[in-house]
Symmetry: C2
Subunit: 137 residues, 2 copies
DNA sequence: CTAAGGATTGACGTCAGCGTCAAGGCAACC
DNA sequence: GGTTGCCTTGACGCTGACGTCAATCCTTAG
């Protein structure tokens, strides 16, 4: 199958697939006319990548999984490197949760003290961003 | 005081201060030689911006607070708009916490099933990114 | 006089993961 | 042979909050 069909079946875009290839995550033989030719295994591979991204892994984090599948394993997480990524990412997520909890506390505290000071706050016209004197975005 | 001192006292960099100015958050009169001239109120203002960023607000979110201080209020969160930002951000943080919790569950599940399948996973040499055929980064 | 240490503006780089556009080639159908 | 649809590569855009570099100016101390 060609790149468009793979994209549809895997639930992504051709642009993403070409990007994965540029990052070395996906390789495809070319037909005589230069078109990429994919098989069923690629559908699974892309599916694995997307699933991993859904649980918070970066594209770079999926490398070990891809390598594991290429090495002939049934699943991408049959290899030590992949497990390691799981554990590292879990630690990162936990750290993020903690940090975000602190952020939440800070926000709640600020909100509470603001409300305590002024049961009925005032209103100020508004402050739109100026015509942006260079430093273009 | 000039921009370097303000940066030191507020705990940031001159680049950040100039950026804030380009975004309309900070305004300073100029001396005869073109140097920006700041006063004590700017130290407080920049401090407010940094504190707000620390609790998760984007620069854009700090606009109402800056406007509130400019309007002569003691604190940046004495105005209705600021309170609104607090509440909106709190909702965002809660949503993020929920989502991150789900990500965590997904990770834990994947880790568990991978470990269940293979108490002693294999090892694969490694898959370094290729020489990057265009799509440069 | 010169060197050092700030200050100024402008412009490009960074990180992730693609989106979007452009110009053109290939294949099939009417 | 013209249209449609899919494919190719290349290149720039986007988000946020600045970092970094370059070229030049101002002030002060030695």
């Amino acid at each position: 199958m060609r790149i468009g069909e793979l994209a549809r079946r895997a639930g992504t875009t051709t642009r993403a697939l070409r990007f994965y290839e540029s990052q070395g995550l996906l390789t495809a033989p070319r037909a005589a006319n230069g078109y990429r030719e994919y098989g069923e295994e690629h559908v699974r591979l892309v599916g694995e990548i997307l699933t991993l991204q859904a649980v918070g892994l970066s594209l770079d984090d999926t490398r070990p999984f891809v390598g594991c599948l290429r090495a002939g394993h049934e699943t991408g997480d049959s290899c030590a490197d992949s497990i390691e990524v799981y554990e590292r990412k879990l630690a990162e997520v936990d750290a993020l949760l903690t940090q975000l909890g602190e952020v939440r506390s800070g926000l709640v505290a600020k909100l509470a003290s603001a409300l305590a000071r002024r049961p009925l706050p005032c209103v100020v016209p508004g402050s739109a961003p100026p015509p942006n004197e260079q430093e273009s975005r």
